[in-house]
């Protein structure tokens, strides 16, 4: 089930019951974009469809969107990025405590997951990765750190992520990687674009 929510005169927000459908519709529209669509922005439960009101109308776009079927993105040959991690983050012991697991088990399970970039946000190139096993779903820190180093590997809620830049942040830090996930000289600048499959491996 999808719901279409008007978002100003130049965008419509598609709201999904199933988070997995966000990337499915994104893939479908990416392959065959409706007339006048200028940008697609996936997020946790929604896909923003921005359009040029000079080239299409909301009613026409609505009809097109409701007629689309989502593409199954789980078995595609999407690129996989392997992120090498030193599991020595300052919150690793705390995360293990909250999860009720030994530290080694947290490290093993984090590596065992196969992840997909669901969407980006918070900061340029900050990719929210889904696929974290429920035992590792922990809350954010009660008070965010003022500076989290670039390359920090972190978990919060249902997501895991790599901080692309040093920035403030409230996620629990379990490790770090030297893989540059963000480089403005590159196009696209981030390795972890929506739909990319990701694995973590200890080193």
């Amino acid at each position: 089930m999808i719901r279409l929510l008007p978002y100003g005169a130049r965008a419509v927000l598609v709201d999904f019951d199933r988070p997995a459908d966000v990337l499915g519709l994104h893939a479908c529209l990416d392959r065959d974009p409706p007339d006048g669509v200028v940008e697609l922005v996936p997020a946790a439960r929604t896909l923003l469809v921005r359009f040029d009101p000079g080239r299409t109308r909301l009613d026409r776009l609505t009809e097109d969107l409701l007629g689309r079927s989502t593409v199954d993105t789980t078995d595609t040959e999407a690129a996989e990025v392997v992120v090498p991690v030193h599991y020595d983050g300052p919150d690793l012991i705390e995360v293990a405590g909250d999860a009720g697991l030994p530290v080694e088990e947290v490290v093993r399970r984090h590596q065992a997951g196969s992840y997909v970039v669901a969407f980006c946000g918070f900061a340029p190139g900050f990719a929210y990765l889904t696929g974290l096993e429920p035992a590792l779903h922990v809350s954010r820190r009660p008070s965010p750190r003022t500076r989290v180093p670039a390359g920090s590997v972190a978990v919060a809620g249902e997501y895991t992520a790599v901080y692309p830049h040093s920035s403030p942040g409230g996620w629990r830090l379990i490790g770090r990687t030297s893989l540059p996930v963000w480089d403005v000289e590159r196009d696209p600048p981030n390795l972890l674009t929506p739909g990319t499959r990701v694995r973590f491996t200890a080193r």
Partner: protein
């Protein structure tokens, strides 16, 4: 040919029309907060509209140009001197080599735009010469002593003497349409938004304008998972006091959006100063 920043004022940044199309990787459009004023400044000096100019906040900007050129100042009206002589806004201003361009404090409005013939030719990041103050992308915020190369991208000679513009209103009226999360609020939310003026708090920057006025009441509790935002979104944190998103808004936000300001009115919104009142208005027919 270059320009040297002698004094940047409170905040001066290089801006063009931004980097659209990167929101899916967490990069917002950024660019001039008052896009119409940057476009006009460029047209006045014969540039393509998307050349990079300088956005100066509350005046106080002093630039020195190494060679003879033509500049234009648009946006918030302020006293301008060029090479020691008074000059007017919204008009091409000829400069001699070594002349200083001085912007006084605007009498109303917040942001002035300076275009130079050929454009400020700083390196582009992701295709744009725009300083994204939230995302930390693009040219650095201007500091005293910074030098900016001037480029050669022009369309033709300046061909108007003056582009008169209506004065900025004391109490701008911004048109809104319903936002995607109107159902997170009580049924009277939109009538509350348009009922009385809001006042811009001291928290006014390129990311947005934090407002104070009629509070909006949530009809449901809980947290909204992050979702894409657009310029003009009126996002409502738990305090019930809305924040109006401007050029450097985050690509995704976590608070429900009750209404969206018409993109055509965002240039006016970008000129709102701390303490100023604004009013929202819902046209009877949606604009699409």
């Amino acid at each position: 040919m270059k320009a040297e920043v002698l004094t940047p004022g409170i905040l001066a940044t290089v801006q063009d029309l931004g980097r659209p199309g990167y929101a899916a990787i967490g990069v917002g459009r950024s660019g001039a907060a008052d896009r119409g004023s940057l476009r006009l400044a460029n047209r006045l000096v014969g540039n393509p509209e998307g050349n990079a100019g300088i956005e100066a906040t509350m005046g106080g900007l002093v630039l020195r140009f190494s060679s003879a050129t033509t500049v234009a100042v648009t946006g918030a009206p302020c006293a301008i001197t060029a090479g020691g002589r008074a000059a007017g806004p919204d008009s091409p201003i000829p400069l001699r080599a070594g002349d200083e361009l001085v912007l006084g404090m605007p009498s109303r409005g917040l942001r002035c735009y300076v275009a130079v013939r050929g454009g400020f030719d700083v390196p582009a990041v992701l295709g744009a010469r725009a300083t994204d103050t939230l995302g930390g992308l693009g040219p650095p915020v201007l500091t005293a002593g910074a030098t900016l190369p001037v480029g050669h991208r022009v369309l033709g000679p300046p061909n108007v003497d003056l582009a008169p513009r209506p004065p900025l209103p004391d109490e701008p009226v911004l048109r809104i349409t319903p936002g995607p999360r109107l159902d997170w609020f009580t049924a009277d939310a939109l009538s509350t938004v348009v009922s009385r003026p809001y006042t811009a708090t001291a928290d006014v920057n390129r990311v947005g304008v934090r407002l104070e006025g009629p509070a909006l009441t949530r009809a449901r509790s809980g947290e909204l998972p992050p979702e894409a935002a657009v310029p003009g979104a009126l996002q409502v944190p738990p305090s019930g006091q809305p924040i109006l998103f401007l050029a450097d808004h985050p690509a995704t936000g976590g608070y429900p959006v009750v209404a969206v300001v018409d993109e055509n009115d965002l240039d006016l919104a970008a000129q709102v100063r701390p303490g100023q009142r604004i009013r929202f208005f819902q046209p009877s027919l949606p604009s699409f």
